[in-house]
């Protein structure tokens, strides 16, 4: 199995486990799910090393987008608390 397939399977397993776990805990805020999806992307990227420079570059671009989403969620939460 290629490393990209392993990466996607690992990420899918992490993401869907999160959905099951958080829904069982009764979490009803979508921003928490989204923030965890972003964190899991970086976890999966660290566990599974890229197999080609192109794959690595595209993963970095996706990582930047997800990091921006994560930062957005965090800022939103901070603003909520401060309000």
């Amino acid at each position: 199995m290629r490393s990209l397939d392993v990466f996607i399977l690992t990420y899918s397993a992490l993401a869907f486990s999160t959905i099951v776990l958080l829904s069982l805990l009764g979490v009803s805020r979508i921003d928490i799910y989204v923030a965890l999806f972003a964190v899991e992307f970086f976890v999966a990227s660290l566990i599974i090393s890229p197999s080609s420079p192109l794959e690595s570059r595209r993963k970095t671009i996706m990582g930047i987008v997800l990091l921006a989403v994560f930062v957005g969620v965090v800022i939103w939460r901070i603003l909520e608390i401060l309000r």
Binding site: L4, F7, I8, A15, S23, F37, K59, M62
Partner: protein, 302 residues
């Protein structure tokens, strides 16, 4: 023009070729049509991933939209996750070359090209003969005769211990040739290490199972089949690694491919030579790029 590109004549013997020929009709060398093969490979790979990615994105989008309207947060999260995974599948490229495989190709190609130049400069047209040996990690050497004579057909078994390149195996001046380490010698050693056995102790009947298991363990190939009939052994395997090297060698080193074999083909020939304790010569080695299948046919002689 080199074998491997679209060509009008064989690079080895100069024989005329028809556009659909896969082999030279005179010398039998395998002609890889790179353009067609690469296009075919791309189509197969593209077909495999795109529908899955589109399906996940559509599913994620629909589920997410409906869940948002119905305010079901876990379902909305499910939709978002599916959408994200679909985007990943479509956006991240399917790489069929790992960094390790690329490094293996880049580091071994120059030395193999040197062997090709040696064969070319010495104008050696005879096929290499794998001399049987035994012992864990010991690989058969390949003797490429200058001309086919009674003495060069069966080089002495003791030749394997020689460290010389240019050797004489008979009394006559034409009983000469070059003695090379097999390109697949290190792969063969790795196969034996992974099996924990000397291939010389494995009969030909059991060789297929052992080769298949060892190739899978090393992530080199899978689905290896071996059939034999009298003095011919045919092996087919599906490559999981080194495909790039195999393709490049077919384009740049046709003599090496046809006469001695690429590293994987050479390892297979050496394995058969060890297992049968017979001299082994390549009859043909064909690589089908779209299906990644390497088919080799070997001739055994006592």
């Amino acid at each position: 023009m080199r074998a491997g590109s679209v060509q009008d004549e064989c690079w080895i013997c100069g024989c005329d070729l028809l556009p659909d020929d896969n082999f030279c009709r005179k010398c039998g060398i395998n002609l890889t049509r790179v353009g067609k093969a690469t296009a075919a490979t791309g189509t197969i790979k593209g077909d495999h991933r795109v529908p899955i990615g589109i399906f996940l994105m559509t599913l994620g989008g629909l589920v997410g939209f409906v869940s948002y309207l119905m305010e079901i947060i876990p379902m909305l999260a499910f939709g978002l996750a599916s959408l994200l995974i679909g985007i990943m599948i479509l956006y991240l490229p399917e790489s069929n070359r790992s960094i390790t495989s690329k490094l293996a190709t880049d580091s071994s190609l120059p030395s193999l090209l040197n062997t090709e130049k040696l064969l070319e400069d010495l104008d050696l047209d005879e096929r290499g003969i794998y001399i049987p040996v035994s012992g864990m990690g010991v690989c058969p050497k390949v003797f490429v005769p200058l001309v086919q004579t009674r003495a060069t057909e069966r080089p002495p078994v003791g030749l394997s211990s020689s460290s010389r390149i240019f050797v004489t195996v008979g009394k006559n001046p034409e009983d000469r040739g070059i003695l090379l380490d097999a390109p697949g010698s290190q792969i063969l050693s790795s196969l034996e290490r992974s099996l924990g056995r000397d291939l010389a102790s494995i009969p030909l009947e059991d060789l297929q199972t052992n080769l298949d298991s060892a190739f899978r363990t090393l992530d080199i190939a899978k689905a290896t089949t071996l059939t034999y009939q009298e003095s011919t052994v045919s092996i087919e395997t599906e490559l999981m690694a080194l495909l790039d090297l195999e393709e490049k060698l077919r384009n740049t080193a046709p003599r090496l491919v046809a006469q001695i074999g690429t590293p994987v083909a050479s390892a297979l020939a050496a394995a058969v030579s060890k297992s049968t304790a017979k001299y082994v010569t390549f009859k043909r080695a064909v690589l089908q790029l779209p299906s990644r299948r390497l088919s080799i046919s070997l001739r055994l002689s006592e």
